[in-house]
Amino acid sequence: MTTHDMPQVSTGKVVSLDAETLSAKSVSLWKTTWRRFFKRKSALVGLVMLSILIFCAIFAEVIAPYDPLQVLIGVEPVKMRQAPCIHLLGCPQDQPQHLMGIDGNVRDQFSRIIYGSRLSLLVGFTTVSFAVVIGTVLGAVAGYLGGTVDNVIMRLMDVLLAFPSLLLAIAIVTILGPGLINALLAIGIVSIPAYARVVRSTVLTVREMEFIEASRSLGGGPFYILFSRLLPNSLTPLVVQATLGIATAILDAAALSFLGLGAIPPTPEWGTMLGAERNQVFTAPHLVFYPGLAIMFTVLAFNLIGDGLRDALDPRLAQSSK
């Protein structure tokens, strides 16, 4: 057992259980978590990858050499679907440099990929926030009230889980009509059950504990108990689930866009870009390769961070060096 796993009890002093000690303890949980998280190389790699993506998304205007929607016909001597031209790799210096080539509408692919990071991160965060908020409320209500309410909510969640997630999302978007917002809504709805389950299960375990009873006997109302006593306990599993959920959401959104159900073509969205050029894979592989690589990079970043967080927050792994 390492020292930081032990409760921080200073010798010779009586530890009083006042608010200050308690809050100091909760800080040390997160501190330990971060320390464990940073010890994992894969988690660090994920964090670096995510930083790169966020950097690209914020400074897209600065990084991207071209406007993502600008058609370069007449502006530069380039042809439709021209292969990448990188000066360092022997492309003649007098040619304009296009790191990832030119797409089917004579636009700079690199700029579009860079701008795509904005959309991808946005997709991940909005769908998961939506699902987390609704899932948390449903799970908390189900777990706290129990009985019929619990049964109705959780059976509904079971029904949603009974569909393969991508297929249900496809069905929802087909009905709502294609478009990025509808695709986000569909993916959000499909991922609600996972969060509802996580919250419900922690609420159920914590509900019967003595400190809840204490809160109640001190006059805490149901809302107070639910939001400031029960829900904070769901935070750790929720964080892990949400990080991994972002990865799935981005992958599903890309799939919907690939099928033509998500972002509408001129939008620089990776799945849409890939779907638009799918038939050119033999003649212009770079138009398929780079958007897919970008999707994989993003999804991998969130998967690595999610796995790292899960291991760091798992008390059973606290003492092992795995």
Binding site: V159, A255, L259, M296, V299
Partner: protein
């Protein structure tokens, strides 16, 4: 055991009812006139009136729901506009392609994933282990459709002329004529009926048909055509299986009975393969069962890439043509299939693991 199965079946009934309700609601949420949404913009008033009367769309919503359930139970999934055929007929016709692809992908994932997981666990923290885990992480992060396109590019174009060249589309080389096994065997097939449908269905599974008619050249051809799509669909499950096998093996290898077996003098290989593997594989049953269901989702994305006309292809065409009726019917069928698969996984788990108590 029997009572457990019965109870488990009964407990999944509300979920099935819920699935029907969700798809029913989806069908009623189609914007605009349901008749023209399903039959197309060109439907005349007379046709629409007939359609509305036949499907009870003029009746109250609860009655409509009952009618809908009745239709599903009778196996009436509606008619596809594009193909002008009942949806059920389409499914029976196209399912063999998807089934063959799913089984091939599963075989690939299991045959590669489990050994990788075992090696990683046995050589914990070695370079093989780290490499496998890196690959597994990359594998679960790849979009299926991208992997499919890239595999097609690499194996059909870059490796053209080498022995590794693989066909990027279709199920068999053009011009290959495969007589169905029932004709080769001289079986008499009735035009209709469950048995003959089953026989025709089986004969459409190319590999099985080639095996039954001893056409080894056709079988090799079919397998060569299956390799790329199966690798694309199978990669994500492969990564998940490798990770699960590894962590499950690590758990089991740390247990006392493994040490006992080693102390008794059993060889390491025997302990790993006989004592540890059996227990480590238990959690995998769930994963394998559930990924079979998600293959159907992957099929939608891969079949179009590899020019396979399976169930996923119909769904894709239906999506692009806004053929709502077909999308709705397919969602029902696949969800029900998924529930049944879950049921089988649960039941087989009880059968495989004596520690699971049937309270």
């Amino acid at each position: 055991m029997v009572t457990y199965i019965i109870r488990r079946v009964i407990s999944s009934l509300p979920v099935l009812l819920g699935i029907l309700f969700v798809t029913f609601a989806l069908g009623r949420l189609i914007p605009g006139d349901p008749c023209r949404a399903i039959l197309g913009e060109k439907a005349t008033d007379v046709v629409c009136d007939e359609f509305i009367r036949r499907h009870g769309l003029d009746k109250p919503i609860p009655t409509q729901f009952v009618i809908y359930i009745g239709e599903i139970l009778r196996g009436d999934l509606g008619t596809s506009l594009r193909y002008g055929k009942p949806v059920t007929e389409l499914i029976v016709e196209r399912l063999p392609t998807t089934l063959e692809l799913s089984l091939a992908a599963m075989t690939f994932a299991v045959l590669v994933g489990i050994p990788l997981g075992i090696i990683s666990a046995v050589r914990h923290n070695s370079s093989i282990d780290i490499g496998t885990m890196v690959l597994a992480n990359v594998g679960v992060s790849m979009p299926v459709f991208w992997l499919g396109l890239m595999l097609a590019y690499i194996f059909a174009l870059l490796l053209k002329g080498t022995p590794l060249q693989l066909p990027p589309s279709g199920r068999l080389s053009p011009g290959t004529i495969v007589p169905p096994f029932y004709e080769v065997w001289g079986m008499e097939i009735a035009a209709q009926g469950v048995f003959s449908s089953l026989v025709v269905f089986l004969s459409r599974l190319n590999i099985l048909n080639a095996l039954l008619t001893a056409r080894w050249d056709v079988m090799a051809d079919a397998i060569r055509h299956l390799l790329l799509p199966a690798a694309a669909v199978g990669t994500i499950p492969l990564a998940i299986i490798a990770r699960m096998t590894r962590s499950s093996m690590l758990d089991v290898l740390g247990q006392e009975y493994i040490r006992t077996a080693r102390a008794k003098g059993a060889r390491f290989r025997a302990v790993v393969l006989k004592h540890a593997l059996r227990n480590a594989l238990l959690p995998l049953v769930t994963i394998i069962g559930l990924s079979l269901g998600s293959f159907l989702g992957g099929a939608v994305l891969t079949e179009t890439i590899f020019g396979l006309s399976g169930v996923g292809r119909i769904l894709y065409d239906a999506i692009t043509a806004r053929d709502y009726g077909v999308v709705q019917s397919f969602t029902v069928v696949i969800a029900i299939f998924f529930v049944i698969l879950n049921l089988i996984v649960d039941v087989s788990y009880v059968y495989l693991d004596p520690r699971v108590r049937l309270d």
